[in-house]
């Protein structure tokens, strides 16, 4: 089969011996052909396999994110051929690390600058909940600032964890319906504002307490590690 055949009319492939038996025509002969599918499927297939992440690395989680993109774990396997350091060309925000209140308007602005459709991953304990930094300067979870699709737990998560989170994003994209959900429909007043209403922020950022206060709250007198009865030695 040569290059000449690629421009041949489709009917000719039927005349070639053996083609019809294989049940394929254009796929093997490179002749013009078509397939039928749902619009959602093909658009989602294209979107989920060409995500460009916008890395928002603020702390040690970013090191794991870099490792994920490097040779051993190689995010390019999943279509993330390049980290997009410009938000205008990105569709997946990966917030890796703790975010201070001083950094919050920056994060919000980057999110606002990303075009629809866009998704976001909150990577690690600090980005997801403030982590151990339950202090005056720290955002207690970036979901108070921007909408979040996937939370990756860990301190920091291993690259496998981040990749698993990205695969979940891909699953989410696969299940979405670009022909019916209108992504461009974003409240213009939401730009520059918190992602959640005020009382909701208040609810989720109430101090959870560290292990000491939790143990006290559960009636344990000791503030050491919780010992299960089975673990006690005679």
């Amino acid at each position: 089969m040569g290059l000449n055949e690629s421009t041949a009319p489709a009917e000719r492939t039927d005349n070639l011996p053996g083609r019809r038996e294989r049940g394929v025509s254009g796929a093997l002969t490179a002749a013009p052909s078509f397939l039928t599918t749902r619009m959602d499927t093909v658009v989602n297939w294209a979107r989920k396999n060409s995500l460009w992440p916008m890395p928002f690395g603020t702390a040690c989680c970013a090191i794991e994110m870099m490792a994920s993109a490097a040779t051993k774990y190689d995010l390019a396997r999943f279509g993330m051929e390049r980290m997009s350091f410009s938000p205008r060309q990105a569709d997946l925000l990966i917030c890796a690390g703790r975010v201070t209140y001083k950094m919050a308007p920056v994060l919000r602005k980057i999110w606002d600058q990303m075009p629809q459709p866009k998704w976001s991953i909150s990577m690690g304990a600090c980005a997801s909940s403030g982590g151990v930094f339950d202090a005056y300067s720290m955002v207690q979870g970036i979901d108070t600032i921007i909408p979040v699709d996937v939370y990756v737990p860990g301190c920091p998560p291993r690259p496998e964890g981040l990749i698993y989170g990205i695969l979940m994003i891909q699953d989410k994209i696969k299940e979405s319906s670009p022909t019916q959900d209108w992504y461009g429909e974003e409240d213009p007043l939401a730009v520059g504002r918190p992602a959640l209403p005020e009382d909701h922020i208040q609810d989720i950022t109430l101090p959870f307490g560290n292990s000491t206060t939790q143990n006290r709250g559960s009636g344990l007198m000791s503030t050491g590690a919780v010992v299960r009865p089975d673990d006690r030695r005679p």
Binding site: Y101, A135, Y136, I145, G192, D199, T205, P207
Partner: protein, 241 residues
């Protein structure tokens, strides 16, 4: 240095006030056997303005001085050829939590003489003002701003006395004071709202401030404690006068 002396010195660490553990000699708190030439010279030169002397951690010499004379003493320590402390290693402050004072600490190093000296000044918490040493050591520029930001000590004569770490519209006080609650004074929702009311363009450089001043342009009142903050057209009611 014997290990006894080292242990003895450790006793005096982090107390901020002379105790029995620290080697403060009787009689005005001056160690008669001080082998630090600068301490002796400083006492001879300034007399009463140098309050007392202390040795901690074996060989670290601390001189407590009157805050009114901090600038005179430090400029003498820098310019006198016998001292020439030409390197300000650190400038920081301590709140010991007694509600009485903030202690400003200058860690000096003399490169020509290979000598270290620590100068401390206790400021009453009601009157936190001190002369800036910006014009002695330019290294103190950001350090003084940090002490102002974290403790509220105002350095007279500093050319650009603004917050450096916290956002300019921060109105919850000075976070490293002992009476500051760990999670801040506002609710998380209010903190989030105030943070997002800042614009990323709001961080003016001193040059920009100077140009705006010369051109007579209005600037957001970002430097005042508890000030109205930075107005944001996107969020009516947040910031602005």
């Amino acid at each position: 240095m014997t290990s006894d002396r080292f242990e003895e010195g450790l006793e005096g660490l982090d107390q901020g006030a002379p105790r029995s553990g620290a080697r403060a000699a009787p009689g005005g708190g001056w160690d008669a056997h001080s082998d630090h030439p600068s301490v002796t010279a400083l006492r001879g030169k300034f007399g009463e303005a140098a309050l007392r002397h202390e040795i901690v951690a074996g060989d670290e010499h601390i001189v407590y001085v009157d805050p009114e004379h901090v600038f005179d003493i430090l400029s003498w320590l820098k310019d006198d050829p016998e001292q020439s402390y030409d390197f300000l290693q650190d400038l920081t402050a301590i709140d010991y939590g007694d509600g009485q004072r903030i202690q400003v600490v200058y860690q000096l190093y003399s490169i020509p003489h290979n000598r270290q000296l620590r100068i401390k000044a206790d400021l009453p918490i009601a009157d936190l003002e001190l002369d800036s040493v910006y014009h002695l050591w330019r290294a103190s520029d950001w350090l003084e701003r940090e002490v102002y930001d974290m403790f509220g000590v105002v350095f007279r004569g500093h050319p650009d006395m603004r917050r450096i770490l916290m956002p300019y519209n921060y109105a919850e006080g000075h976070p490293l004071r002992k009476d500051f609650p760990l999670r801040g004074r506002f609710t998380r929702a209010e903190q989030t709202r105030r943070a997002l009311s800042m614009k990323t363009e709001d961080h003016y450089s001193p040059q920009e401030l100077e140009w705006a001043k010369r051109l007579g342009q209005p600037l957001p009142n970002v430097m005042e404690e508890g000030g109205p903050g930075v107005p944001n057209p996107a969020m009516p009611g947040v910031g602005g006068a």
